[in-house]
Amino acid sequence: MAGELEGSKSLSGLLSGLAQEAFHGHQGITEELLRSQLYPEVSLEEFRPFLAKMRGILKSIASADMDFNQLEAFLTAQTKKQGGITSDQAAVISKFWKSHKTKIRESLMNQSRWDSGLRGLSWRIDGKSQSRHSAQIHTPVAIMELEIGKSGQNQDQFRLWIKRTALCLKDKQASNLKGKYSLVFNLHNSGAPGWHSR
């Protein structure tokens, strides 16, 4: 029975199930489901601590957003621990993180976004050519239709129109933002003291 757990065959499937439940919000992935599907020969009493250990390892890796050096060091330490993991299992975990890292990071970032997001955007340009007071006018306006909301909830759809002069100004403001983003990110990557590990 314990031999089953030490094998790495079903571990990949287990990690997928754990990721679905812990990061991607998939309901209904119970420990009994995982056990019966992946480790049917193992009793629930034996399976539970094993599952907890793997869940803990996966969460630590995701939480720290480990790069490959950190991952190797972390997994090596786990193999040396009493009641840790085998080197085969370490290899499976490493392979799993490398191929699923981006998706898991995306889910974690989405989880921490609590305000409405931009769900849809479309626009058209209207050109008015005549009005009651004036035979010929040509004042084009842009009309935008935006849909904002949180996933799983009702979306708020609204329209707004913008005159040409206003649109030029907004474009200038938006350009400033692109520069600002690079500046902020560089400050972070420069390893300024006290910036990490709080």
Partner: protein, 85 residues
Amino acid sequence: IREDRFRCPPDDAKPVAAAGQLIDFQWKLGIAMSADSCKSLKSPCVTVALKVTDGLGNVTCKSFEMTISQFQNFHSQFKEMASVL
């Protein structure tokens, strides 16, 4: 029909569809450093606030968040509109 009910400036091209006028656009850039679900999050996020008036003096504010790539798409849509206008 009373004349003043339809009073509007001669060259004011208000679209017929029920749309408010964008009168202000504000943005802020933040980076979520850490969260309970992820200690090392480092997730940049742009929050945009649009002030829209309905022409009767009522102003509403709509705000929403975007990832950097969503914001870049948002910005390029504005640029495209500006180029057509």
